[in-house]
């Protein structure tokens, strides 16, 4: 279809002209874009970023710091994809643009080093994640941390770093993969055979969510397989311009999971789920893995998506709880999972679900965005916390570890009295035999 593909040899990293030209700049995305809301500048809007990417692909302008900044300013929340009637694949455009600007070193040195350490050395290697987590825990429990904060020295000299320190969730004393067996049988007969991704952050920071997931899945008749060799899904790398590491991690996971026989791969972190559903696309140029990746992706289910498909009748007891639900971007926008969790939550006896205004607005967590763009992230978090407060709910539910950490931090920073939990943890509390 594209006749002028000859001139785009320079930036093959960007998607083809057919994808870049699909945006008709109607502006329907403007109302849903958090960064446009912050600056009210066209270049911080989805259609502005698409236009700039197209001009770069066409060779009319060159990559600049302004362009790099805008691409990194984007949360990649993909709310615009949900809003776009024309179906423009914005996520694809922004992620490939990020891969492109990685070569240009426009970001501040500390951000680049930080990103590199996190992406290349920590999340890419299972053992390094654990070492880093253990070190972090030692620090978190140390007197040093208390001293640093109580003395006020930390805040005075490194105000943002001190805030970020408080932002990071506590590392679990023991990681979920260290106590969850590779195969867990349900108490009743086996109705489904499922695999579970325990995730890197989920496992080290929120091991109880993995435990709750296993308990609920067992209670509804799942045999749960947790391959020991599984690695990080690669989404952090993929979203931050490090596609090659992401591909490596994807291949490794495909190999590890294929050693087992399962019907569905259950994921309780929406970011991981969204990315693993994309393995088929990410590896489409890889002859050895292309087909395997497609089959692999087809089996991926978010835990709430899976539970909404099966019969949950009589599984839950009455508990009195007033809750509200925050849509994680990678659930609602990337995976289009909106009604499934609501259907389950509404069916819980005694639970009252209050709809959250702007529930599908990003909370500002967005992977490592709250670390790289702290102020913008806090602007969005404050807005989110005020909306949560308006619902008067006792608990806010979110299906992603990033949102959970961010919202928990928000309860402290903006003084909102609400419990932050994963929907699966609420289901666990409601289980009949608990």
């Amino acid at each position: 279809m594209s006749k002028d593909s000859g001139k785009r040899t320079l930036f093959e990293a960007l998607p083809g002209d057919d994808i870049l030209s699909q945006c008709i700049h109607c502006g329907m995305c403007l109302a849903t874009c958090p960064t446009y809301e912050i600056t009210k500048l066209e270049r911080s809007s989805p259609r502005g970023r698409i236009r700039l990417s197209k001009k770069i692909a066409d060779g009319e302008i060159s990559i600049s710091k302004t362009f790099a900044d805008e691409m990194n300013f984007c949360l990649d929340c993909q709310a615009c994809e949900t809003a776009c009637p024309a179906g423009v694949k914005y996520g694809l455009i922004v992620e490939s643009a990020r891969a492109l600007i990685e070569n240009y070193n426009y970001e501040k040195v500390w951000k680049r080093i930080f990103k590199k350490i996190v992406l290349k050395f920590v999340v890419a290697h299972r053992i390094n994640i654990k070492i880093a987590a253990r070190l972090l825990r030692v620090y978190q429990k140390s007197r040093l941390r208390k001293r640093l904060h109580s003395s006020g020295l930390f805040k005075k000299n490194f105000p943002k770093l001190s805030e970020m320190d408080l932002l990071s969730p506590d590392v679990s004393p023991i990681f979920s993969d260290e106590y969850l067996n590779e195969k867990i049988q349900p108490k009743s007969e086996v109705k489904y055979k499922v695999a579970l991704l325990t995730g890197c952050l989920m496992s080290i920071m929120f091991d109880e969510i993995n435990r709750d997931t296993v308990d609920v899945l067992s209670a509804v008749g799942c045999e749960v397989i947790i391959p020991k060799g599984q690695v990080c899904c690669g989404s952090l790398n993929g979203h931050n311009g490090d596609i090659e590491t992401a591909k490596e991690l994807a291949r490794k996971n495909i190999d590890e999971f294929s050693k087992f026989d399962y019907e569905f791969l259950i994921i309780n972190s929406s970011g991981c789920g969204a990315f693993m559903k994309e393995y088929g696309r990410i590896l489409e140029d890889d002859n050895d893995y292309c087909e395997k990746a497609k089959t692999f992706s087809l089996k991926v289910r978010d835990v709430m998506e899976f539970l909404a498909e099966i019969n949950l009748k009589d599984k839950f007891k009455i508990i009195d709880e007033k809750i509200t639900y925050h849509d994680a971007c990678h659930l609602v926008h990337s995976q289009k999972i909106f009604s499934e969790p609501r259907k389950i939550l509404k069916s819980l006896p005694g639970v009252e679900l209050k709809e959250l205004d702007e529930s599908s607005w990003c909370c500002g967590s967005a992977g490592i965005y709250n670390l790289t763009h702290y102020d913008d992230s806090m602007f969005l978090l404050q807005r989110k916390m005020m909306k949560i407060k308006e619902t008067n709910a006792n608990a806010v539910l979110a299906g992603n570890h990033g949102c959970i950490a961010q919202l928990k931090y928000g309860t402290k920073k903006f003084n909102v009295d609400v419990e932050v939990i994963h929907p699966i943890s609420l289901l666990k509390r409601c289980l009949n035999d608990q």
Binding site: I24, H25, G27, A31, I61
Partner: protein, 476 residues
């Protein structure tokens, strides 16, 4: 624009409200109009009337052009820059100053998003009826400048019916006020209505007073499915001639329905030729009575199924689906040229036939939808701007459609404005004396032709007709 002019602009608005990087120029080179785009020299976000006034005075001195802009969702190129121009963006003027529930008025700044105003007034039991498809993103200022219409035009009219007063800065930098909260006001010329639809060529609007009405007690939304296009058109004509006035009477053809379904999954049938989306509102008893009458008319004219929205959520979804029509059509082809031909309502069936004929004759694809009850259609050409041949054919097809619309007693644009996209057809539609009068008005208010020049009509000399009256007229 000279460097010193840019420095002066910077000192007026402050460095933080001034942009002139290449990236920013690109991002303000377009609006929602297909094909047209042009880069400005700089972009400013003024903070006060005083700043706007100074910028306009400077533009007269330094001879650069001013392009006012809201959200940039216009469909006739009204906010697309021209040569040597400065874009003045009004989106940060987004305060609802007052909603007066004693007088049923709202006083707003021009950058208020139309949808936000509708939501705020609804909280007080009031309705701001104009409802353009882009309500969630477009600004009131843009609506006023283009006299925007929308889905509720049939019963409630368009923007001009709701503007009670406006304040603007004239091209010479002087502020002007017109109208107020009075429902009746005949003091002098009706300048207020003159501002409405002036497309940013006569002044920069800074404040607007709008009329509100009580929210209707009840609304009922329904869809009627047809196997024949002509049946849907006949139904529309019969509803109008039966003296029933629904608040919405919208038409969608098969191509449009399929694109919308790909986007929303609203549950519309993909294999029917046309759908009418109808909403009636008012007191309970009237809504029931009218919807029964309409149902009978629809059945009599060949609707094979009538779906009634069961709750407000479903009704909202159906209307949302309709509002997405234009953008959803881009799923088929990357360039969607949306037109706005409007005919007297009784001519609607004839117009639909002419559009089908144009598609056949010039071998182009149209998605058709529109405000059937207003006789206002949006034939949308699905094409690809990267292919010159296709674009040429599209233009020929539109020439044909405009000509046919005028022959049927219609007009070239019902609600999108003339702007850049339709100015070449203006003379044909309204006649030379009217265009000459418009030019005379424009030049008497904007003597140096600095405010949004080249929109609506050209001020360059024409091959035929009157010659330009002064040197200033020979400009873009």
């Amino acid at each position: 624009m000279t460097g010193s002019a840019k420095e002066k602009i910077k000192s007026i608005v402050g460095i933080r409200n001034y942009l002139d990087s290449e990236e920013d120029k690109i991002c303000y080179s377009y609006d929602a109009t297909a094909i047209f785009n042009f880069k400005p020299e700089a972009i400013v976000f003024p903070e006060s009337e005083e700043q706007i006034s100074q910028i306009l005075k400077l533009a007269n001195e330094e001879k650069f052009n001013i392009i006012p802009r809201g959200s940039g969702t216009g469909l006739s190129g009204g906010s697309i820059p021209v040569e040597n121009s400065l874009v003045v963006v009004m989106t940060r003027w987004n305060n609802i100053i007052e909603i007066d529930d004693k007088n049923l008025t709202a006083t707003v700044q021009p950058g208020v998003i139309t949808g936000n105003l509708q939501r705020e007034t609804a909280k007080m039991g009031l309705l701001y009826p104009p409802d353009p498809g882009s309500a969630n993103v477009c600004t009131i200022g843009g609506n006023v400048a283009n006299n925007a219409g929308g889905l509720r035009g049939l019963k409630y009219g368009v923007t001009k019916n709701y503007v009670l007063g406006a304040e603007m800065i004239l091209p010479n930098g002087e502020p002007m006020r017109s109208g107020g909260k009075n429902y009746k006001d005949v003091a002098g010329y009706n300048l207020r209505d003159f501002i409405v639809g002036s497309e940013g060529t006569l002044g920069i609007i800074t404040k607007i007073i709008l009329k509100l009405i009580p929210l209707p007690q009840k609304t009922k939304t329904m869809l009627a499915y047809f196997n024949k296009l002509s049946d849907s058109a006949k139904s529309v004509a019969e509803i109008i001639s039966a003296h029933i006035t629904p608040s919405m009477l919208e038409f969608l053809d098969r191509t449009t329905i399929n694109c919308i379904e790909d986007f929303t999954n609203a549950g519309m049938p993909r294999n029917c030729e046309a759908i009418l989306l109808i909403e009636v509102d008012g007191r309970n008893s009237i809504v029931e009575e009218d919807s029964e009458l309409i149902k009978n008319i629809l059945k009599r004219n060949g609707a094979f199924f009538i779906r009634i929205a069961e709750n407000e959520k479903e009704a909202e979804m159906l209307k949302f689906a309709r509002r997405s029509a234009f953008s959803a059509l881009a799923r088929k082809r990357p360039t969607t040229i949306l037109e706005d031909a409007t005919v007297p309502r009784s001519e609607l069936p004839a117009m639909i036939e002419k559009i089908t004929e144009a598609a056949r004759k010039f071998d182009v694809t149209f998605g058709n939808f529109g405000h059937a009850g207003d006789g206002n259609l949006h034939p949308t050409c699905l094409t690809d701007e990267r292919d010159n041949n296709e674009i040429n054919l599209a233009h020929k097809a539109f020439d044909f459609i405009f000509n046919e619309a005028i022959k049927l007693g219609g007009t070239i644009t019902g609600e999108h404005g003339t702007g850049l996209a339709k100015k070449q057809f203006l003379e044909q539609a309204v006649g030379t004396p009217a265009v000459d009068m418009m030019k005379n008005i424009k030049l008497s208010i904007d003597t140096n032709n600095i405010l949004n020049p080249g929109k609506i009509f050209s001020t360059t000399p024409r091959c035929e007709g009157t010659l330009p009256k002064s040197r200033e007229q020979i400009r873009p």
